[in-house]
């Protein structure tokens, strides 16, 4: 792995985080390997660093689960060294009540103001679910990449989700809230908002997919043992008009997308009332990936699915690096145990970042130049 200059985590401090009472690590640039037996807290260190980047655990657990047993608050401090300036993120995770986040000593009122201070790409065993799981995981993958590259979309996404919840409540109540006389005027207002925020989110997703799909194809070819044709289709089941009925052409403008949504809303109005839920909009969409014409979710082998999941992560890493002119910190959580030798070597060869943090219980693939080794045992972590 090459190590171009860029942002890296110089130091991380944990207090009452998971199994750690109090520990700190000074990390070099290049590759740091965290090793130790299972259950000793290798992943917890990665989890703490990633929290400072994403504002949540990448393992999908609630913040309260990160606080050491018997304690009220867990504290994580990361010191980030970057070419332009060094930064410090301090996070207080509370079992009850609001978390406290400080960036360079100043309180960060909203989580989204933290995003961008530290960028990471995480490869984790759960990534397989990106391919094997339902459409929601793939939508989240697209939306998270979208908000990383263009932070405006964090607001669009939050607004859209709120509108869908309001609209669902309205539909469940038969289109009127505690009212005898509302002739659909309130629903009409939320239709308008659904179209406005939904078409904006859709446009963002389609533009992003247009831009990164060639990267995904490239990454897949680099990692697969016998690459086949990889194709993708953005599917809107609700779309009743448009070029091919359910699929949306990826060159539609926001205005055209809004028109498609409005048409679908009137076509599906009856069914929405019947079901009491919003059936139209990007929260229902699927990004369908096919290998040699076969649906990757259900018809590809586990090995192919894993390769494709890695390709998605690698492509998103490159997309973020290209957008900011700087490679995110790479976090590989126990990835090699799931991969055969060929894919491990192929992955290692393609990954470039100023800093890579790897947790592993076994040996590393051949060719990895290690800058530091961290040994984890008995709830303490030490750089060797």
């Amino acid at each position: 792995m090459e190590t171009p200059p860029g942002t890296s985590v110089a130091r991380v401090e944990l207090v009452d985080f998971r199994c750690y009472e109090s520990t700190h690590l000074d990390l070099p640039s290049g590759v740091t390997v965290i090793s130790g037996d299972n259950g000793e807290g290798k992943t917890s260190i990665l989890e703490a660093v990633v929290w400072c980047a994403l504002g949540r655990s990448f393992r999908g657990v609630p913040d309260a689960a990160l606080v050491r047993a018997g304690q009220e608050e867990a504290v994580v401090r990361t010191f980030i060294s970057a070419p332009e300036r060094s930064r410090k993120i301090e996070v207080g995770l509370r079992r009850t009540g609001r978390n406290k986040i400080l960036l360079d000593g100043k309180a960060v009122p909203r989580l989204r103001d933290l995003i961008g201070a530290l960028r990471v790409t995480v490869f984790a065993p759960d990534d397989l679910a990106l391919i094997k799981g339902g459409p929601a995981g793939r939508r989240t993958f697209i939306d998270e990449l979208l908000t990383t590259i263009n932070p405006r979309f964090s607001g669009v996404r939050a607004d859209y989700e709120k509108v869908v919840r309001h609209r669902n409540a309205l539909l469940r109540a038969g289109g009127r809230v505690n009212s005898q006389s509302d002739e659909g005027a309130t629903l009409e207002v939320f239709n308008q908002q659904l179209v406005a925020t939904g078409s904006e989110l859709l446009e963002g997703r389609l533009q992003l997919l247009n831009q990164i799909f060639p990267e995904v194809q490239l990454a897949y070819r680099e990692l697969a043992i016998e690459p086949v044709v990889l194709e993708a289709d953005y599917v809107c089941d609700w779309a009743t008009s448009g070029p091919n009925e359910t699929g949306l052409s990826q060159t539609l403008t926001r205005e055209e997308l809004a028109k498609t949504m409005r048409a679908a809303l009137s076509a599906l109005a009856g069914r929405e009332r019947e079901r009491g839920t919003t059936l139209v909009g990007p929260h229902r969409d699927e990004w369908a990936l096919t290998l040699a014409g076969l649906e990757s979710r259900s018809q590809a082998s586990q090995g192919e699915q894993r390769t494709l999941a890695l390709a998605l992560r690698l492509a998103s890493h490159r997309a973020v690096a290209a957008a900011f002119g700087q490679e995110p910190v790479l976090v590989l959580d126990d990835v090699f145990s799931e991969l055969d030798e060929y894919r491990s070597a192929a992955l290692v060869e393609r990954l470039a970042a100023p800093q890579t943090l790897i947790s592993t219980a076994g040996p590393l693939p051949f060719g990895v130049e290690v800058a530091a080794r961290v040994c984890v045992a008995n709830a303490t972590a030490r750089v060797q």
Binding site: D113, R152, S154, G155, R165, A169, V177, N178, D182, T186
Partner: protein, 194 residues
């Protein structure tokens, strides 16, 4: 003691720990202090009512703004809560009348137009000499939905309906504006007057 803590904890912005701290503070303070607080709550609750015209808080039939003859009755500013009036008054930019909706449309919380003072607003627009309605609801989903709803009702009545602009905070640096605000400011950009 627990009753007091529970009651305090029901107040907005007060969590269980704050409630406990306030309860202990009250118990430690002299009886007259605690009685004065209790008395002022009872008195305020008894004397303060809704203004019969604009539905802000008032100590009589009408609030201070509705009683003030110097204010311009042709322009009417619609807000969600009485505290929004205080914020607008601080600007000294507006000299018209107010109308308080007492909330915003929020189906999640079971609040529709009929739970708000919308009928009363329409009646005022029809019976008073209103020429312009300024929709000053909050710039969030619920506030925007409410403004949109009211806009659809009011525009056919042939009056001017306006919405407060969203944009950059004055006196701040562009660099520090968050993306959503800056994005809105771009959308609402104006031509420079020569």
């Amino acid at each position: 003691m627990q009753t007091l803590i529970d009651e305090l904890g029901r107040l907005p912005g007060i969590g269980p720990k704050s409630a406990q701290r306030i309860a202990y503070y009250l118990l430690k303070s002299p009886a007259e202090d605690a009685n004065r607080l209790a008395g002022s709550i009872t008195e305020a609750k008894a004397r303060v009512t809704w203004c019969q015209r604009c539905f802000s808080i008032a100590e009589g039939e009408l609030c201070a703004y509705c009683q003030d003859d110097r204010r311009d009755s042709t322009s009417l500013c619609v807000v969600e809560e009485p505290r929004d009036i205080v914020a607008i008054e601080r600007t000294h930019e507006f000299n018209g009348r107010y109308h308080v909706l007492q909330g915003a449309i929020s189906p999640i919380e079971g609040i529709g137009p009929e739970q708000l003072r919308v009928k009363e607003l329409l009646r005022r627009v029809e019976s008073e000499e209103v020429k312009e309605v300024i929709l000053a609801t909050n710039p969030n989903i619920e506030g925007e939905a409410t403004a949109m709803y009211l806009g659809r009702l009011l525009t056919p009545l042939g009056i001017k309906v306006t919405r407060l602009a969203s944009g950059l905070p004055v006196g701040g640096d562009l660099e520090y504006a968050d993306e959503v605000t800056l994005g809105r400011a771009f959308e609402g950009r104006r031509e420079v007057e020569a």
